[in-house]
């Protein structure tokens, strides 16, 4: 019943849209409908822009130039959105609510793909991908990020990322920690951090983000490295249920509590500052004021030439180590991955052209430049083997290695709220408001409230 109604609403909407298109077509003296050869068409591209000369902005500008040169009658309208990931997601979702404002091609977070497919925002790309020879060159793990519950692919990955420990060799050496450093368990990390604190009281020994201030960074670059390295889970994929009452959750919070209580990390007040990551990349690490931090494979993009915090010596001073599991249990290390994709709007008037644009953006040449500029982990095999990529920064091999032990977030539409509940648990613990047990109980209650008691599983 509902299906019929929404279909009829949709068909009347598309009728109106077609009517409008014909009107505009008439005034322009051309035909209407999907733009084929000889028609004027405009493609609207929406993406996130973080400052002037950001790699993605450069990519889009380049693709616009190339695409317009090849297709004389097509105008590519770039609509960059400046703002945080959250602001971008909001802007994008709001524009997608109406076919009139929905973009043709857009930059889409992998963990939004499933819920946005449920919302009917994304076009099924299977018919197009079948005819695109390059698609075979994409890494299978990365391809999975664009697949929805129905098994079809809705988004093409631009790149992916991993998380590792970035440590400052100067600080570790001064503390007598052997370099290259390779902690085998959480205790190894605490031991090194305590050593640093003893030898250099003014240095932040080992930081892990916590609290709602750093948002998704708190879970992706800190809490999940802990949780996924315990014997507990966040989400049970087999049963498709959220895990509550897990010992691993409590242990992870206890670890953060120890770090912050013993003043091995930043102060809680600093940790809650949404912009603290900039200080970490721009001041603490380059100025030898921090021993180590869990951060993304993209870290060198900040330090490279033209980056936000240029630092010529980062290759010599910094080292990386995989984040260990709790007690060194199999597989020994843990990492988290996310990454972004390009997708096409379900209501695009020019889906064929939109896919041509996507193909141009994803060409070996364009994607190689973007992958290198943005310190991404390559998703195309011909890029992963390219010497430009392998030599782009000293850490490419190290951060690519942990792909074997990496995890992806459960991309359900409840996820953002659950992520916040986990962030709140870390915040309550580092500020001393709640003990790890209490904060974990609060989290369990919040999860039950968000997804309903039927969708949780007690561990």
């Amino acid at each position: 019943m509902r299906g019929t109604r929404s279909t009829s609403v949709k068909s009347s909407l598309s009728l109106i849209a077609a009517g409008l298109l014909m009107l505009s077509g008439c005034s322009a003296g051309g035909g209407g409908g999907d733009a084929g050869a000889g028609d004027e068409a405009t493609l609207r591209i929406v993406y996130q822009k973080s400052g002037e000369g950001s790699p993605l902005d450069t990519l889009m500008q380049d693709v616009k130039t190339q695409f317009e040169a090849e297709n004389g009658n097509v105008t590519v309208q770039l609509e960059p959105v400046e703002g945080s990931d959250e602001d971008y997601a909001t802007r994008l979702a709001l524009s997608q609510r109406s076919p009139d404002t929905a973009p043709d091609v857009f930059y889409e977070d992998t963990f939004k793909v499933r819920s946005d497919v449920d919302a009917g925002y994304l076009l099924n790309l299977d018919p197009y991908l079948e005819q695109w020879p390059d698609w075979e060159r994409f890494n299978d793990g990365a391809k999975a990020a664009g697949v929805a519950d129905d098994g079809a692919t809705y988004a093409v990955p631009l790149g992916t990322d991993t998380r590792v420990i970035w440590y400052n060799k100067n600080v570790l050496e001064a503390a007598g920690v052997e370099v290259p450093w390779a902690p085998k368990s959480w205790d190894d990390i605490l031991a090194a951090a305590r050593q640093i604190k003893e030898s250099q009281p003014d240095v932040v020994p080992f930081n892990m983000y916590a609290g709602t201030g750093t948002g998704e960074g708190t879970v992706m670059q800190s809490f999940y490295e802990l949780l996924y390295g315990t014997d507990s889970q966040l989400y049970n994929e087999d049963q498709q249920k959220w895990v509550v009452g897990s010992q691993g959750f409590v242990d992870s919070l206890s670890f953060l509590e120890t770090l912050y209580d013993e003043e091995l990390a930043l102060t809680p007040a600093q940790a809650l500052d949404p912009n603290i990551w900039q200080a970490v990349f721009g001041e603490y690490l380059p100025e030898d004021r921090m021993g180590g931090v869990v951060e993304g494979s993209y870290s060198p993009s900040f330090w490279q030439e033209g980056g936000m915090f240029e630092w010529a010596d980062y290759g010599d001073v910094m080292g990386v180590a995989p984040f260990p599991t709790q007690n060194g249990q199999e597989p020994g290390a843990v990492s988290m991955s996310g990454g972004w994709t390009l997708a096409i709007g379900a209501n695009s008037q020019n889906p064929d052209l939109a896919f041509e644009f996507l193909k141009t953006a994803m060409s070996q040449e364009n994607l190689l430049k973007y992958t290198v500029d943005n310190s991404q982990i390559a998703v195309r095999s011909d890029i992963a083997e390219d010497s430009t990529y392998l030599e782009s920064n000293p850490f490419v091999a190290d951060v690519s290695e942990v792909v074997d032990v990496t995890h992806y977030r459960p991309a359900t539409s409840d996820y953002p709220e659950i992520s916040t509940a986990a962030q709140q648990a870390t915040e309550a613990v580092i500020t001393g408001e709640r003990s790890p047990d209490e904060a974990a109980a609060d989290y369990d209650a919040a999860v039950r409230d968000i997804v309903g008691a039927d969708n949780v599983v007690e561990e």
Partner: protein
């Protein structure tokens, strides 16, 4: 229409609603005709969104996921959830505290005080004070918010100032987030009250004040028994306007603390934003917005009664 629409209500027993003669009603419609465009605009731009919001608050509309495609009418479920939400009582309390401390007490009293002082002061002093106070008010909200952030944050102006006299720095936004946003809102909004009261004070006839002075009434007595009663209407109007303005303050709080730390400054607008846009629950966020409309309405009714008294 009922008696409410007659231009002058007749309070005679027996003339209840519907007793007006048709000739008068006709001329009434003629009189209302010039108001029609205004009423239509109010209907479209004020009543429309409110009705739409109320409707939205009864749905499970979302920004993404299945409920974005096919929102369902779920009745009062959002409200039931809201009253069970452990965050709601805190947000409600913080909102009331914010409005009471920063608008009703802070902006209002400080505005009245500066208006009285400026009235008495020399022209030069009055001009300087006015410019300083109004400067905060003419700044766009987002700019004012960043200025306030720069003032209160860890290494900000306030701590640098207190450091010069040897006071240890306080992390205002972390330790006292409500105090910081209340002070910021007082700073930003006092100018409005000051200007309202300046205009009102100018209308108080000097003779009355002077004759009271001759009778031996001191400054405080004259203020209490003469000035305040005479500007009573301006006080009520001002209170209503600043209450509604403060109830809706979002940018200032979001930029300074984003409702944190640990929701300690999450007023209802911040909570509504979080629910609607961060968690994509548009319907639930709208329900919070509707509750805010109701709170505003309650305050307005109280002030309107104040206005009508005597």
């Amino acid at each position: 229409m009922t008696a409410g629409t007659s231009t002058r209500p007749v309070r005679r027993p027996g003339t209840g609603p519907g007793h007006g003669n048709s000739g008068r009603t006709g001329s009434l419609w003629l009189k209302l005709l010039p108001l029609a465009p205004a009423i239509a605009l109010l209907g479209i731009f004020l009543a429309g969104p409110i009705i739409f919001s109320v409707y939205g608050s009864f749905t499970n509309a979302a920004l993404t996921g299945k409920n974005a495609k096919d929102p369902q009418f779920i009745g009062p479920e959002n409200y039931a959830d809201l009253f069970r939400d452990p965050n709601f009582p805190q947000s409600l309390w913080l909102t009331v505290l914010f409005v009471f401390a920063s608008a009703i007490v802070g902006q209002n009293l400080l505005g009245l005080g500066t208006a009285l002082l400026v009235n008495k002061a020399t022209k030069a002093v009055a001009a300087v004070v006015s410019v300083c106070v109004v400067a905060a008010w003419v700044l766009p909200e987002i700019v004012a918010a960043f200025v306030a952030y720069a003032f209160f944050f860890r290494e900000g102006t306030l701590n640098q100032l207190t450091a010069t006299v040897g006071v240890a720095p306080v992390d205002w936004l972390f330790e006292h987030p409500m105090l910081a946003i209340i002070l910021a809102n007082i700073w930003r909004g006092t100018a409005f009250s000051m200007m309202v009261y300046q205009a009102a004070l100018n209308d108080v006839p000097q003779e009355i004040s002077e004759s009271a002075m001759i009778d031996g009434a001191g400054g405080a007595l004259r203020l209490w028994y003469i000035t305040l009663p005479m500007i009573r209407r301006s006080i009520a109007t001002n209170l209503m306007l600043i209450t509604l303005q403060t109830l809706a303050v979002f940018t200032l709080i979001y930029v300074m603390t984003a409702g944190g730390p640990s929701r300690r400054s999450a007023t209802l607008p911040v909570m509504a934003y979080e629910e609607a846009f961060r968690y994509s629950n548009i319907g639930y966020g709208t329900a919070i917005a509707v509750v805010m409309i109701l709170i505003g309405a309650v305050f307005s009714v109280v002030y309107i009664r104040l206005l009508k008294e005597k």
